[in-house]
Point group: C5
Chain length 355, copies 5
């Protein structure tokens, strides 16, 4: 999982609104695509010059502009120019270190989302990526650094006119994007749930220091997820309550639906966190238990043999006057006494339930 | 107890409102029954075609439609058609992974509940099931996957006109269903309370690693219960405060009553959680205690015999010039010294309260 | 202390408002007494037939009806009839498993209280009992299962016209009862405070597993008290803020006063809880400390004698060619070397502060 | 530090408003002093009969009545009479067990404060004392049990006309008293901060069970301080927001200032609490660390000598046929083998970083 | 990091508004500089007499007065005089022990900030310093004790007319200062993040008591940071919501932006805190683990050799009648038996996974 805030300080001292890309550069080129549609009409187009978009702004159709690769600050500047975006918004899009949020700017609504992916990275680790969405009166602009098929299902639904999407406005498209992002959380939670199960198994069979590390790692993943889902929940709730004319009444129930999803994700994260805490307790107690086992073995062996060794030592002494040594059955008697002591000890341990 | 969120991801990418049943298929067939009643009148009927229900919609009587087995998405689609239900509501009914909630849709109120059962599963474990209720102006529709007699007592009360139920409207029927579900929590809490007692007993008599596991398991059950009762409480509270014309003023006090029940369940869950936390402390300290015991035994034995063994070793040495060995009472003296050392040690241990 | 929710499930399936007594039957008979008073007038009377009370309802005097022994559901039904009480209220009175609460029913206010007693039970344990109060325009009805002198001081104050009570209305009487109940908490807290002191003493002198159990027991008592005082606080606050005509303005300051008492009780409970948590830490560390002690003794003894025993073993060997054995001062030298080793070891331990 | 709630129960059963002094009697006599001042005028006077105060009530000057020694309930009754104080307020003044609070009684405002002193008690422990303040339109009455120079600086400021105090009303005087009390918290916090430093030192150098006890004691002091500063904060905030005509607008900024002080005290208390929690962790881990040290010493000694002792034992056996014993270099070989084993063991321990 | 509240008590007893500098004196002289600018005009000037500033107060340009070295109370008094500042505000500026806060005084807004620096102190530790800002209608006054280039980038931006700063009012300048301070937090968090990584490394490779101390130290730094960022967040939020005419609408979005930054800092601090808690758990469990290792070694050695030593002791006994000793293969048999015992033991340990 990604690390908390880093390299933000490189911007210290720059005036606010300075466009600097903060984050990994994940795609080589910047690709801008346009989807323009309404109930009857559908157009897909690659945009080479941002200025081409101006033509679509006045139409009554919904225009979806998708930018793949945001590291090119020049493209963003042009976009800001064409759509009248505030420099701080552009700065937030570039700063991929952002917390999920929703900001109503009057003319448009700016939404920052985090999406998670457990298959994007070949090291099989979870990766997070910032997806920014701008919802205007008749347009949606989405920004993503990674070249990826994340939003393809929505594009497909628009193309094939599946579901309500072609009959509704830009707000429904924005909702569909948020819904898609939220679905990525469920996948991550399943993956983490499976990892928790694996560690629980390990805890029963062979708890090792590495198990604890794995549990702590999972706990940290939970902190990370929670850190990103909590503000998302707030943002959705703010969207829902928002009285912005950009959001139609009919979209309300859909926002309520994804709000419920967010709550459910939070619930699951909290449940996992508590499960992991319980697992740490079990791990620590299993350490104590094993110590108890080790100590019992030592104590049993020592308690049986130390007295016997003393006895053998006694009859190894070289006193001149040593009556027992002369006895014919002395040696046999020694064994009888030794065995008796050993058996008595073993019975005592049995009674104490140490054996 | 059921596992947290699973297999939700199978829906990722589908347009919202897609009807897919998420959850176990627990009954073979889908059975729809209708109860139509008012003060004077009572009708019970199995419904084969959902369309038959249209006839009952305009009557002034209360119509209770109960659907057993919700996996058949076709039946739900027809119901949605007849009663004008929003696709997202139908999706929520099918998705049995839902969090308890209350949603006022204007024409009808949608309520999701979780009921618990500790006798439904032959493995004697607790099972949870989603019960959805739709409260309309003159009708109540309830959905349940499992074929089970859960709501039979209410049916009986309607039939025999016991209590107020025949004199009241659909909102009272919905209340009666919620009340019935809440009662199932009390049963679960009693079962869990008994399990806690058993583990407390075990903790006193013979605390083992399995005790800790059992305690952690109970703790997890508590997390699970809490996760489901908290939103239920909120839902009831929302119902109570709701200004929906679907809820009559007279029903308010009944909703307040089940709200109190919900609070009491939460209280008990919290109490159990704190008790379980205390039990974990006791378990961990009993581990330390037993270790102390083991170590004391080892130390006593070792501390007494190690010096004696040394002494025996001394008199087993083969020095040519070794005056003590020549003495007539040497051997006797050895025993006297040894016994004195042992007795002194024992007295010291007694004083330190190790014996 | 009483156990959390039990046997509530026996009511599962009954229609709401069914009168079933849940709780222990603590008195044989049901006794109903009436106190009727105003500034000038005072009447005390045992009531055999609930119907007799109807006569007092229209008078301008304050009527206090006290019911001792609530298990007789017939008496309650009649009371409900005479005073027009809602069946759910009667159910709540009978269900002694209730959470403290305040419910404004318009015509009357229903208050559920928990009182505690540390002298009522011969097993010297703390017992809790539900006291329900109904405050009407000119009457107060109080319900209690146990036959006990709890409210006698109030009766006495009315009789002897001590304090303001005779000059005020029914709301002041209700306040006086709540105040009396709250005072019982202070007594319990003192008892628990003394028990905490005893365990603190034990913790210093001779911490045993039983000490931990006692601490955990006290902690549980705190949970239990808190569970009952928190809703009480809320109820008093609700009463205070209530705009019910049943509560006169002049009573406000008295309610504020008991609200302060409730807050103080909560504070004390929280303080005790934190003290008990600290005591658990001390207990656990004292276990580790004792283990350290035991291990040090073992290590000192073993570290001194094991090398010496080896040395003695060496000179007990039977090698043919063994120069030291032939030396005249060999044996003496052995002792000198042994003593030197022992003394050096002891000095080392002294330096490490193990002695 | 004072103990939580005690002996409150002695009042159980008395009617509310009964004047009983709860707390320690700290001064022998009751002394009442009056300070009457405005911008031009200044009068200091010892009051023997409370009735004398009536004369000052109508004047336009600010009258400050200070009562030292509140155990004399008769004086309080007279004061109540003269100034028209509610019996419950008088009861609260006498009950020094009170929680800090602010109560707006319309004609006057009643404020309960706790002041702390770490030099008042010769046992060098922290003592708490209740200071009650009544703020009327043109008068302030302050109550204190202990005979002490706490408020002398304010008296001095009035006398010498230093600061704004002579130009302002009674509300500013009340503010000055609260400010003085709050300053006593800073002193206590410094004392506690120094104690924490001492224990931190002890934790590094020689952690003992007594260190833990001291830490727990400090933690308890923190609980105690927090218990008293939190309600104080609320009271000041209530005063600030209060729309009482007794508080002039110009005093608002002063109240805001002491509110900030209260917040800062709370912050410091919370910081100290967290520091103490961290210290407990360090203490517990240092116990484990020392155990590890002890065990390592034992293990090293035992692991080196136990095999050697066995070897010596072997060559001490008396078998008739025992070739090694006959060898000329046998004994030398024994020492070579023994030393080799010992050295190998030491190297192994070195590698494991045990040495 | 600086210590919590100290030496505040030296002010106890002084009237409120007394100007006493609390904190370290970090610069020798007090330097007052003025920057006067608008879109077209720019003036930089060192001020020797505070009275010179009066001339700039009526101009329509923005005047930024920066005071370096606040220990000179005389300068502050003059400033208070010229700009009409309340004595309590001056007191707060001098008291560098202040909590971050925002106070709307009507004519001006007073803001207290904490800035952090990890390069200011040669001991490489983090230092905190109080920066106070007063925002008036056309002026900003900033106060700082340390002589430092902190605000130089802003001065530079004004000089070179970079960004929006020359086109905006005093409120934007105040925002720019707060933004600059907030950026210092990101730097600190990066430093702390790196330290956490170092300790995590140490935890894996060689956990020592010093590691725990370092973790606790970092945890304390977090407490300290949190203590200062939380009120900052509140202050920014209060500024944002403030309806003061001093803050123009256009500045709102900038305040929202730094509010987001504050939230992000809080998030990171919380994440670090949870990471550190997890590290403490890992440390403690690694102690137990190492103990387990040590005990296993001891137990294995002891369990193998103690029985063998007994056996050797047996054949070292001097019984007259001792058949085995006479046998020709006795000695060989002894070794065979010994080896068998040792091998069996080792196999047992292998099975228990101790080896």
């Amino acid at each position: 999982m990604p690390r908390p805030t880093k390299s933000r300080s490189q911007k210290a001292g720059l005036p606010p609104g300075s466009l600097v890309h903060i984050g990994e550069k994940l795609s080589e080129t910047t690709k801008v695509t346009l989807l323009d549609y309404d109930g009857d009409h559908y157009l897909e187009k690659n945009i080479d010059h941002i200025e081409e978009l101006r033509a679509f702004m006045d139409r009554q159709t919904v225009s979806w502009v998708h930018i793949e690769g945001i590291h090119d600050t020049r493209v963003l500047e042009q976009l800001g120019d064409v759509f009248g975006l505030h420099p701080l918004i552009l700065e937030d899009i570039l700063n991929t270190d952002q917390r999920p949020k929703m900001q109503d700017m009057g003319d448009y609504i700016f939404i920052v989302l985090k999406r998670f992916c457990n298959t994007c990275d070949e090291h099989s680790d979870i990766t997070a990526e910032q997806v920014s969405v701008i919802l205007g009166p008749k347009y949606v602009i989405s920004f993503q650094e990674r070249k990826e098929a994340l939003l393809d299902p929505i594009r497909e639904r628009i193309k094939t006119s599946k579901g309500r999407i072609r009959k509704t406005g830009a707000d429904y498209l924005a909702y569909a994007i948020i819904d898609m992002i939220l679905d990525s959380y469920f996948g991550i939670l399943e993956t983490l749930g499976e990892k928790i199960e694996i560690e629980e198994e390990a805890l029963v069979n062979n708890p090792a220091q590495s198990t604890l590390r794995a549990i702590q790692h999972l706990k940290r993943d939970m902190i990370f997820l929670r850190k990103s889902i909590w503000p998302l929940r707030e943002s959705i709730s703010a969207l829902e309550r928002s009285e912005s004319p950009l959001i139609q009444d009919a979209t309300g129930i859909y926002l309520k639906d994804i709000y419920d999803h967010a709550i459910q994700i939070i619930d699951t994260v909290e449940t996992y966190r508590e499960m992991l805490s319980g697992m740490i307790d079990i791990y620590l107690s299993s350490l104590s238990n094993r110590m108890n086992q080790v100590m019992k073995v030592l104590t049993i062996i020592a308690t049986i043999f130390i007295p016997l060794t003393f006895l053998a030592g006694v009859y190894g002494m070289n006193f001149k006057h040593f009556p027992e040594l002369e006895w014919h059955w002395g040696y046999l008697l020694f064994w009888i006494i030794s065995m008796t002591i050993a058996v008595v000890m073993l019975i005592l341990f049995k009674r104490k339930k140490w054996l």
